[in-house]
């Protein structure tokens, strides 16, 4: 498995951290990238040994994150993340925490990149135009019950089978005529004075306008709230000319 160019560049920059002299990334004993100044055979032996050490700890049911060893010629930091193993060799012992943090950040980046490459769930493909089925036409059901029908059911039934429901249709027509008559008999309301009209305006419930399924409710203004939030226009200053004496 090869590293991407981004991860290679990150690993190269890790080589420049502090007094780091060698970086090696391996996965299950296989070297992915080696920036140690050692021979490949020696590095392979080092990676195998490191993998064995961490697998020994895993066999003992111990979750080891980091192993730091100080030698006479430098310090070795071994970072484990699952099957990944990152070996970092640096010179100054005080840098161990900093180097380990940088290495852990690289391992997190590696996980992130591999996670996005391997574990992405594919988006479902859109069907072709000829595969798209036309939606079935929804036919309103005809009322078949014996009880009294609602107004809506009666309207639907009258539209579908006008011959069977002629009596109901005539009754509806009579009811419509009667309601029109009542509406004509109602006298128009007297004009109210301004104060009572404003009170009525305030106490009247706000109408809700229904568009489809969305209820649009108009904003309610306070009594002293101005219609516009813009500042009032400035009055031009009138300067009185001084009379020169």
């Amino acid at each position: 498995m090869n590293l991407s160019a981004t991860l290679k560049a990150t690993l190269d920059s890790l080589r420049l951290v502090g007094t780091v002299r060698g970086v090696c990334l391996c996965r299950d004993g296989e070297i992915l990238e080696n920036l140690f100044p050692f021979s490949p055979k020696r590095m392979q032996a080092l990676c195998d040994e490191g993998t064995d050490i961490f697998s020994d700890f895993v066999d003992r049911e111990r979750d080891i994150e980091r192993l730091v060893m100080g030698f006479d010629g430098g310090q070795l930091v071994m970072l484990a993340d699952g099957e990944l193993l990152l070996l970092l060799m640096h010179m100054i012992p005080d840098e161990a925490d900093f180097v380990a943090k940088a290495g852990r950040a690289f391992l997190n980046d590696y996980r992130l990149e591999n996670g996005t490459a391997e574990n992405v769930v594919p988006f479902p493909e859109e069907p072709h135009a000829d595969e798209v089925e036309e939606p079935e036409e929804i036919v309103p059901p005809v009322a078949e019950h014996s009880g009294p029908m609602t107004f809506r059911e009666l309207l639907i039934a009258a539209e579908n089978a006008p011959e069977q429901h002629s009596a109901e249709i005539s009754l509806l027509a009579q009811a419509e005529q009667a309601s029109k008559q009542v509406a004509n008999d109602i006298q128009p309301a007297k004009p109210q004075p301004a104060a009572s009209a404003a009170r009525a305006q305030r106490s009247r419930p706000i109408r809700k306008r229904i568009v489809g399924e969305v209820v649009v409710q108009p904003a309610r203004l306070a009594a002293q709230q101005p219609q516009s939030t813009l500042p009032p226009p400035k009055k031009p200053r009138v300067r009185s000319r001084r009379q020169s004496s």
Binding site: E49, R62, R66, L67, G70, K101
Partner: protein, 126 residues
Amino acid sequence: MSNSPDNESASVDLPSFLNEDELLDLALTTQGARYFRVGNGGSRGCTGAGDLEAFSENLGLLQDCSIRMGNLLEMEAVSHCVVYEKDSTIAYRYDSDSNPRNPMVVGAMVNRQVPIRKLLTDLAEL
């Protein structure tokens, strides 16, 4: 990863009038370091035989690991080794004040993650 602040020391002054079990409980409660000294065919610790036995087992493991890696790196002189688990840190280092022909090892176990620099400084001052 590391859940401890960098400027916090691992050493906690344990009172001397407590017995071993009480010292162990206090060290576990306060997340302080339990120190050990190994050499001359013996080992010492102030938190009881069970804790000392656990440290000896870890010391053997860490010495084995560091010697194996040191042989491959051709750096056989191991000065210290620190291992970080999820919630604990175990470390040892050679006592530089001891006789080189018969070196002593000082070690510590802390039930939290401690920065290496602080831990090694505390071990050197022990």
